[in-house]
């Protein structure tokens, strides 16, 4: 029922979207912030990447998209830490503003076509053959995941983790929480934008609506990963985000095979996230006698 091509494409997309899951691992799990900038930052990555690829710079497009994403993250962080806007609202405000920015990056057109442009994948196609899409995507995700885990063990990384874990304690340890939140949000949105950048070149098109619902898809992947892998060390959690993202793509592939119309996918994603996050409460309601004390990450 499922062909090699379907498996290959699920793996490819899983690796690309895993960057969003890793980004949400940093913002949602580590920093304890539901970052609504994600949708806009993803599209921003797509837009920057597509525009630069069309201009003949498919490789430069990736770091450029990351910088753009980091800028978007810094705006959300600024709204949150300096103007004291609640974090969810800060993300929504940036996200709304980004819609115009994204259109502007694409030359006020709602999509950019890269059919005739060189992409990161077309550059390596002669050398890699049939895995010319999977290998670069997997490599990028692997490098980002390793760098993220190593970073979280550095002094700055420890400060960021503590900021999400116990802000009271962090201030008493002479760490500026405004600074750590800013660094964390810049990094997570840079990762999200990188994901968008790779995806745009992967499918040779960028669209203003590509990022819609991305935060939910990322969360679904993250939570699937957490359910599948044992709780434990940081690298296990990062691995879980990547694995969750791949599993999510397989679920979608199967759903499509079952002739579910693709319009239903967002509803399925939303249901997965609602069920996964609500699972402890559902379990608690079913077993009222036992006390359900589920710890964060």
């Amino acid at each position: 029922m499922i062909s090699t091509a379907v498996i290959l494409s699920a793996l490819e997309l899983g690796c690309i979207y895993a960057l969003v899951a890793l980004a949400l691992f940093l913002s949602f799990r580590v920093l304890n912030i539901a970052d609504m900038t994600t949708d806009g930052a993803f599209t921003l990555g797509c837009a920057v990447s597509a525009t630069l690829a069309v201009a003949g710079h498919p490789l430069l497009a990736l770091p450029a998209a990351m910088i753009a994403g980091a800028c978007a993250g810094s705006i959300t962080a600024l709204l949150q830490t300096k103007l004291k806007i609640p974090s969810i609202l800060a993300g929504i405000i940036t996200n709304t503003g980004l819609y115009t920015i994204n259109l502007a990056v694409m030359g006020f057109s709602s999509n950019v076509n890269m059919m005739k442009s060189k992409t990161l994948f077309s550059l390596v196609q002669p050398a890699l053959g049939s895995v010319y899409k999977l290998l670069p995507a997997a490599l990028i995700t692997l490098v980002v995941a390793v760098l993220l885990v190593v970073f979280l063990k550095t002094r700055l990384g420890l400060s960021i983790r503590a900021t999400g874990d116990n802000p009271d304690m962090v201030r008493a340890s002479s760490i500026n929480t405004g600074f750590t939140i800013t660094i964390g949000l810049c990094m997570s949105n840079a990762m999200t934008a990188l994901s968008g950048a790779v995806l745009a070149q992967y499918q040779k098109t960028a669209d203003i609506n590509l990022g819609t619902g991305m935060v939910i898809i990322g969360l679904a992947s993250l939570i699937i990963g957490e359910t599948l892998l044992p709780k434990g060390k940081l690298w296990m959690k990062a691995l879980g985000a990547v694995a969750g993202s791949i599993v999510y793509r397989f679920i979608i592939a199967i759903a499509l095979r079952l002739d579910l119309p693709s319009e239903c996918l967002k509803l399925i994603s939303a249901t997965i996230v609602a069920l996964a996050i609500g699972l402890p409460a559902i379990r608690g309601a079913m077993k009222p006698a036992t006390k359900g004390g589920k710890s964060k990450c």
Binding site: D165, N166, D168, A172, S174, K296
Partner: protein, 268 residues
């Protein structure tokens, strides 16, 4: 060393909920002073600590530490040289991080020379291990355990170690043993005494326990309605008994059930 001049703080000014939390508080601490702070609930003890630590800006007055005016410094900058423990043992540590990582965070206060991208070194690990073994709680063998798995007493002892890992100029103890069972409280109190004496730390400690207020430190101040109403030091403090201090409380109009209770308790 620490000099508070005319510190005032009013919460919700101009509303029906207006509360004068501190009124013209003056306090001067010499280096090595260990001052215990007594007072009923709402007397302004914790507000005084918050003012010193910079949790909020004061309305009036100046705070000087070692001659430097820190009145307008944000809290995270002051915490470079002011260590602080709260009543809630959960407040001072990050539960989902390991003991070692928590200590590394505390250590960052002094290690400005370290790159933010450096990791915990083997030398630091040895140092943490040695310091943890001084607590005599066996934590030195659990450095990779998550702090959330420790008991309240263990967490408070760890917080104490973290606050003093880099010797602070000033240590603020806000009823840091009140949430612990009597035996554990005594243990943490002994540890406090030992660490403060060994490192010659200037210290302010809020307590509701009269015996320990007299037993620990070299000065005792009493607070009421946002002001310091009485200070006991020197010979007067040496001769002071629990009963006499209670009488003094009544004469100052300070009433507090928790203090009355603690005075009846035998010293554990």
């Amino acid at each position: 060393m620490l000099k508070l001049s005319n510190i005032s703080k009013t919460f919700n000014p101009g509303t029906v909920n207006e509360k004068k939390a501190l009124t013209n508080v003056n306090l001067s601490l010499e280096s090595g002073d260990f001052v215990t702070v007594l007072g009923s609930n709402g007397a302004g003890k914790s507000t005084l600590f918050n003012a010193i630590a910079g949790s909020f800006p004061v309305d009036d007055g100046t705070i000087r530490l070692d001659g430097v005016n820190i009145t307008n410094q944000p809290d995270y900058k002051r915490s470079k040289y002011i260590g602080r423990l709260f009543q809630d043992p959960l407040k001072g540590t990050a539960p989902h991080m390991t003991i070692e990582e928590n200590l590394a965070l505390a250590y960052m206060r002094a290690s400005a020379s370290h790159s933010p991208f450096s990791m915990i070194s083997a030398k630091e690990r040895r140092e943490f291990r040695e310091k943890l073994s001084q607590l005599e709680l066996g934590l030195e063998d659990r450095m990779q355990s998550q702090v959330g798995l420790l008991s309240g007493g263990q967490r408070q002892a760890l917080t104490l170690l973290m606050a003093t890992l880099v010797t602070p100029k000033l240590l603020l103890l806000d009823e840091h043993t009140a949430a612990l069972d009597p035996a554990t409280a005594q243990k943490v109190l002994n540890l406090t005494q030992k660490i403060v004496a060994e490192n010659h730390i200037t210290c302010l400690m809020i307590t509701h326990n009269i015996p320990s207020a007299l037993q620990l430190g070299n000065r005792t101040i009493m607070m009421k309605d946002g002001t310091i109403v009485r200070e006991i030091a020197g010979q007067e403090r040496k001769n002071m008994t629990t009963e006499n201090l209670l009488k003094l409380f009544h004469s100052q109009g300070v009433e507090n059930d928790r203090i009355l209770f603690s005075a009846d308790l035998p010293q554990t």
